[in-house]
Symmetry: C2
Subunit: 197 residues, 2 copies
Amino acid sequence: MTTAKRDTYTPDTLLSVAVRVFNERGYDGTSMEHLSKAAGISKSSIYHHVAGKEELLRRAVSRALDGLFAVLDEPGAARGRAIERVEYVTRRTVEVLMDELPYVTLLLRVRGNTQTERWALERRREFDHRVADLLKAAAADGDLRTDVDIRVATRLLFGMVNSLVEWYRPQPGGDAERRQVVDTVVHMAFDGLRTSH
Amino acid sequence: MTTAKRDTYTPDTLLSVAVRVFNERGYDGTSMEHLSKAAGISKSSIYHHVAGKEELLRRAVSRALDGLFAVLDEPGAARGRAIERVEYVTRRTVEVLMDELPYVTLLLRVRGNTQTERWALERRREFDHRVADLLKAAAADGDLRTDVDIRVATRLLFGMVNSLVEWYRPQPGGDAERRQVVDTVVHMAFDGLRTSH
DNA sequence: GTCTATATTACGATAGAC
DNA sequence: GTCTATCGTAATATAGAC
């Protein structure tokens, strides 16, 4: 269709290389020299494709945020009982994390040192807030335990889901493993680790 | 007893300032200039107290690791049924996270760019491995659900616990809140979010 | 589109005075 | 114990040739 060969870089193909290095070394720990070595072109060539290091970060976290917010607009997030919507969003968020793993990983590690980073943090808070509202609705329906603080539980649910970026690595043809990880997250979050009694 | 006044710095008091800045800006995003501004002394004065930036990191992650490993040597981690030992270690780990919050926060964000960081990552893996063994024993006792992968569950348990550093902030005199957070973590991990059925 | 060469600034660390 | 001044290096980014 467009370009099948990959002899030269586009902003997007360069981005995939940069994000990998950012995740290995941290954004601040990555120099343009590191990127140029990883991409196999000179530092100045990188500036032909993108305006600089921060644009690479902006493109990466935008992609991650777009994927996450799209989940909230899916029918499953808007229909049915609140507890079912929470479960749906949890499941789909895990899937987006897996599909866009390096981009979401970078998003979750942003500190707030630059304008781009602060914007990313703000949008993340917005996403978190919308999921927290869903959990509140489920609690109001009486579908969540009453002996846990709902704000704390929301944080822990996010913490558990987001921790995937620290250890999940997609396997070629590992569709079964992938499904199992999604199931385990949802199961553990809503039913716990302990044997049912 | 020793020094009640705090007009001059010791390595430890300087460390507490440095760790705060490291956690705000990230270790790589923090310059000696940032540290000197935050401490209210010049860059060169910092070198009177510590050998350099990396020594501050080493002292900080050492403190965090010492606290975490000490939990594994407590009687509650060695006695009783495996599921009870897992629950005990989970509870105590959360408490150490809270007690040594800035130090553990820094530990959990280490990337591996320097020798010190790689050493910290290795010791973290060692701690994770020892808790994973406890979970395996609990599974062998039949005290964990059989429909979740035990390796995945271990990772998720860690992810949930470690996520505390991203949002928990100790309140002055907030002992009740603190206890509640510990309880919620243990409750959610082992019994889940959903209303008991 | 990629390169070499370089401008400019920021960084970690040291020297030496007080 | 703290300071000012500075060294050497590495950082982001640009200029201009091919």
